[in-house]
């Protein structure tokens, strides 16, 4: 007997945490637009021993993944047209079953496993996973600013000092420097006021970092007033930042 598929062949899958409201919103909007059938799968549903995992890498590198949820729904990577990947953390409920001394090992194993099966889930995974960021590589503000400067953005200055560990922590958060995060998809910032030079810089930044969906964080609540200076970026932006224009861009990215 064939188990039912979560998504029909060629359909799209939105994979996210149940707490990721903007991804759920994007799923609903993508579904309403009707370009392709869209399924929604919460990462939390992938935890536990009732989920069945089968991830293979062949001798030639061809990788496949098939997972069966506790409800018996099958997700076969080979059948998916595209995946909107919002997995910030692997399903970690299994850690509750681990002995204390095994917990860190199990966490690393689950993270490493997720990086691999996410990469194999579809030919189009947006954002592509990285072992340093399951929904796109996480970078620190310093690296983002270096990349952004190379791409042609103006950047806000940043100082890091070992004598000021609090300052290092602040630089990683949003509290230290007020800013505005704008959604960028495939190198285009989805905001009407962004000047052409910044758009061109964003296209170069996307090519350099290889992350198709970005939240680019600019200095100040009014970035134009501060010269569109970059503070950092994230591969995990709020997908609703740009409204329906953002959904249209995501739709285009998934269809590409």
């Amino acid at each position: 007997m064939t188990e039912p598929a979560l998504v029909p062949p060629g359909g799209w899958l939105v994979l996210c945490s149940a707490a990721d409201a903007s991804a759920v919103w994007a799923y609903e909007r993508l579904r309403a637009r009707g370009r392709a059938p869209v399924g929604l799968l919460f990462v939390e549903a992938l935890a536990g021993s009732a989920v069945r995992w089968e991830h293979r890498v062949g001798a030639g590198g061809a990788a496949t993944v098939t997972l069966t949820t506790a409800e018996g729904l099958v997700v076969r990577g080979a059948d998916l047209g595209a995946v909107l990947n919002r997995v910030a953390s692997p399903p970690l409920a299994a850690l509750t079953a681990a002995a204390d001394e095994d917990r860190e090992y199990a966490r690393n194993e689950l993270s490493a496993f997720a990086a691999s099966w996410l990469r194999a889930l579809s030919a189009t995974v947006v954002n592509a996973p990285d072992p340093h960021g399951l929904c796109g590589r996480w970078r620190r503000p310093l690296e983002w600013r270096a990349l952004a400067a190379q791409a042609g953005f103006a950047c806000a200055p940043l100082t890091l000092a070992s004598a000021d560990p609090d300052g290092v922590d602040r630089a990683d958060g949003d509290a230290g420097e007020p800013g505005a995060t704008l959604l960028a998809v495939d190198g285009r910032i989805l905001h009407p006021a962004v000047p052409a030079a910044a758009q061109q810089a964003c296209a170069r930044l996307t090519r350099r970092c290889g992350t198709r969906v970005l939240g680019v964080r600019f200095e100040g609540p009014d970035p134009a007033g501060r010269g569109w200076r970059v503070l950092g970026a994230t591969p995990f932006p709020d997908l609703s930042f740009a409204g329906e224009a953002g959904v249209a861009a995501l739709e285009q990215a998934l269809a590409a």
Binding site: R52, R56, V57, A94, P131, A149
Partner: protein, 308 residues
């Protein structure tokens, strides 16, 4: 100036320092054991990065650094910080120091062996296997699963299989035996990686830029790193001639992963195929050099110093 970041007595660092001495290249240790006398201040002015590193009585402008050998040990375990409670000022300053050096190395206009970002593919072996195959190497047939029936079928299909960690956490590669098959229910909570056993002999290839050092390992053990434990006899190592095509493929693989220095684990099968198990981004080259006399430290020294 070249910085050697780590613990000077560690064999890879010590051999490299000796080679740099012979070359006459200027270098300094950033000795983790002196973490209490270390400080770094880094400034990105919006366009470029600069700053100062102070350590054990000397200081250097970051833009004077042309090479970095980055081999820090886990700073949480430094004996110098033993007795310091979590979150103490000394521990926080140490963490910040190591963190900032790592961040700087990621973007420094210098030869870095290796940047942490480039090392990341090794954090997931099946992820890295997909990349390795894209560079023209065969990889072992792999199954990662939590389904005991799939494991039994995989072992039956391949006749002999091994299991090992998915992540970069060190594990001892073992052949799946009857005892393992009897306890497969234990994998239901956390998928485990199984691979078809590949017959042949092991070759560790170190690439230093475009220089290649291949070492043949003779051992009856499944995991030659633990040969004595698994077989009662230590592995033996000898220099090995790879041939131009395979050597070039190794160089391209390392470059494709962004690694200036790499330890590539190959098994050469009886029919002459090179199957790649993994690429180690922070290899203990000194272990192989000590057994074979292959001059890897000298090659690393030349590469860091920019000497062709």
């Amino acid at each position: 100036m070249i910085l050697l970041c780590g613990i000077p007595s560690e064999s890879s660092q010590a051999r490299l320092a000796g080679a740099l001495d012979e070359l006459g290249a200027a270098y300094r240790f950033v000795n983790q054991r002196r973490v209490r006398s270390s400080a770094i201040r880094l400034e990105h002015d919006g366009a470029r990065v600069g700053g100062v590193l102070e350590h054990d009585g000397w200081r250097i402008a970051l833009d004077e650094v042309t090479g970095i050998y980055l081999r820090f040990m886990d700073d949480r375990r430094l004996p110098e910080l033993a007795g310091e409670p979590d979150g103490s000022p000394a521990r926080r300053a140490s963490r910040a120091f190591h963190d900032i050096v790592g961040q700087w190395a990621e973007i420094a206009d210098a030869c870095v062996m290796n940047r942490y970002g480039a090392m990341s593919s090794n954090f997931s072996k099946p992820f890295q296997a997909q990349l390795i195959a894209e560079h023209g190497f065969a990889v072992p047939e792999t199954l990662v699963t939590n389904d005991p029936e799939l494991v039994r079928a995989f072992v039956a299909e391949h006749g002999r299989a091994i299991y090992k960690s998915i992540s970069s956490e060190r594990s001892i590669v073992e052949v799946v035996g009857e005892r393992d098959l009897a306890r497969l229910d234990a994998i239901r909570w956390c998928p485990v990686q199984f691979q078809a056993f590949v017959a042949g002999f092991d070759v560790r290839v170190h690439t230093v830029g475009e220089e290649v050092f291949a070492t043949r390992i003779a051992s009856a053990a499944t995991d030659y790193r633990y040969a004595h434990r698994q077989t009662g006899e230590s592995a033996t190592m000898t220099p090995y001639e790879l041939g131009d095509e395979l050597a070039t493929r190794c160089v391209r693989l390392a470059a494709g992963l962004g690694l200036e220095l790499a330890g590539i684990d190959l098994r050469l099968t009886p029919d002459g195929e090179a199957v790649c198990f993994e690429v180690n981004p922070s290899p203990v080259y000194s272990y192989y050099e000590a057994h074979t006399g292959q001059p890897m430290a000298a090659a690393i020294a030349r590469y860091l110093a920019g000497v062709a």
